[in-house]
Amino acid sequence: MLGINDTTIELWLLNCMLAYSAFAVLTGGSFTLAYVAFVAVGAYTAGIGSVDHGWSLPQEMVVAPLLAGLAALVIARPLERLSGVYLSIASVGVVGLLQVLLLNLDGLTGGAIGITGIDPPIGIGLLAACVAILALILRQLQVSNFGRAIRMTRVDPLVAGAMGVNVGRLRLWLFVLSAVIGAEAGVLRGHYFGLVTPDEYGFTTVVQLLAMVIIGGVGSWLGPLIGAAVFTLLPEWLRSFGDWREVVTGVLLLVIIIVSREGLVGAARTQWHRRRHRRGVADDAAADPPPATSLNGALAGGEEDR
């Protein structure tokens, strides 16, 4: 029913992990799209580790985030000089660069064929546990003072600075966090499918993860869970559209983005406040008249530099 079965749930959980990697960096308001490179680092660590060196899954889950975290610290240096669309382009460049390396270092990465036979396969239990732990951590962060700083930085970095947030430092840590999450997601993904190929970690994946985060909402830890669910189930629901499936998916995404900049979670929150506001206004109108405003005052103070 509704296209929900064990496979879609597993894919949803995998997508949640991946989406959380993108979420971690996007929630700080910097439009950095290098997260897929860190997922690739994780997946190839799993591939090379388990096939060539006989590493265990826990070993990979320690090594991969360390590698990705360090790589993030190194890449952040040149990237932090950029902002806005230039940062986005440069960060996509990082993904492209890594993909070229993966294709050409075929002694290590298996080139275009990639690496097959990654063992052991993982099941729904481990995936669910990882997503649950990650969601809990991000939820706790969000309601803490760090979360307040993150939210200010996303909405208006200038104001965040005026409130005492070191915006540059905060974004750097979010970038590293994104790399660590991405690497774990990559390890899980490698083991789940049992293989890694370079074409899984290119621009298409960048856009897919971006879409998941934007649909769900960059403002809440719930966003990626919802965005990943929509993204996993929508193709199932739209099966009857046949070749038009992709088009319908695209239109739906556009509608969601136009309706709410902060995704489905943001839209729900705004609606909730609007409803409260309307109730409040009705109560106030009944209770007391609005404060008198003086036309003179408005004119005297009318010199706005707008």
Partner: protein, 252 residues
């Protein structure tokens, strides 16, 4: 000793000198107006004091501490609060959330211990901080909008919310960038009340404004800028009589 001391503060935007060797001091508890014609460098000076724009030359000291190279977040942590010429609230957040943002600097803890604590027990705002937020909302006259989203409020109310956000941290230095612009008489009275109360608490207040009537009423002292230079520094009633100030406003 003065709370804020500017020594030869100079700011160049490329070849344009926006602020030219400004030297002045503001004491704790003082309310000082920073006035001047359009483009005289008032806002630029305010932006340098709050650390948004690094100065090209000179020195700034806050309570004897050199803050010449301090960035905005460092100054905020030292007790400098400001409002913005074009209101900058955080959309999507309620009024009380916006005001609570003003408490960030003092709530913040750094290090791994703080990270661990916030993961285990993230908690909402502590009762005493919550009480201060309520008090600031009350004083700025926006308590009844506490749970409304800021973007749905009228202009004057948004201004009040910004004022509440600036005073909630009990700053040592308050910088108002054209707080009176576009306000009703009712809103202006409230603003004056807040400013006077903050100064009485020992906070130094610098107020940039075009609204001369309001400035004369609220600020005993005025510093007048023209082309980035201080052309008058003294009691504000005398500023209106000063020949050079008149020339600057009318144009010679």
């Amino acid at each position: 000793m003065s709370l804020l001391a500017l020594q030869g503060v100079t700011l160049d935007y490329g070849a344009v000198r926006a602020v030219d060797h400004v030297r002045t001091e503001v004491a704790a508890g003082e309310i000082c107006a920073l006035v001047g014609p359009n483009g005289s460098g008032k806002s630029s000076l305010l932006n340098t004091i709050s650390g948004f724009v690094p100065i090209s030359d000179g020195a700034i000291a806050l309570d004897g501490v050199d803050v010449t190279r301090a960035r905005s977040y460092e100054l905020a942590r030292l007790g400098v609060a400001r409002t913005f010429q074009l209101i900058r609230l955080l959309p999507g957040l309620t009024v009380s959330e916006n005001v609570a943002a003003g408490c960030y600097a003092e709530l913040r803890r750094s290090g791994l211990g703080a990270l661990a604590r916030s993961l285990l027990r993230p908690g909402r705002i502590s009762p005493e901080v919550a009480a201060r937020v309520d008090e600031a909302l009350e004083r700025a006259g926006v308590a009844r909008f506490a749970d409304d989203l800021v973007e749905e409020l009228p202009f004057g109310t948004q201004r009040r919310v910004e004022v509440a956000r600036a005073i909630v941290s009990r700053p040592r230095l308050l910088l108002f960038d054209e707080p009176a612009a576009g306000l009703s008489e009712h809103d202006l009275e409230n603003l004056e009340e807040v400013i006077v109360a903050e100064a009485a608490r020992g906070c130094a207040v610098i107020l940039v404004d075009h609204h001369l009537h309001f400035v004369l009423k609220v600020c005993p002292r005025a510093v007048v800028l023209n082309f980035g230079n201080v052309i008058f520094d003294g009691p504000s009633p005398a500023a209106v009589e000063d020949e050079e100030v008149k020339r600057a406003y009318v144009g010679s």
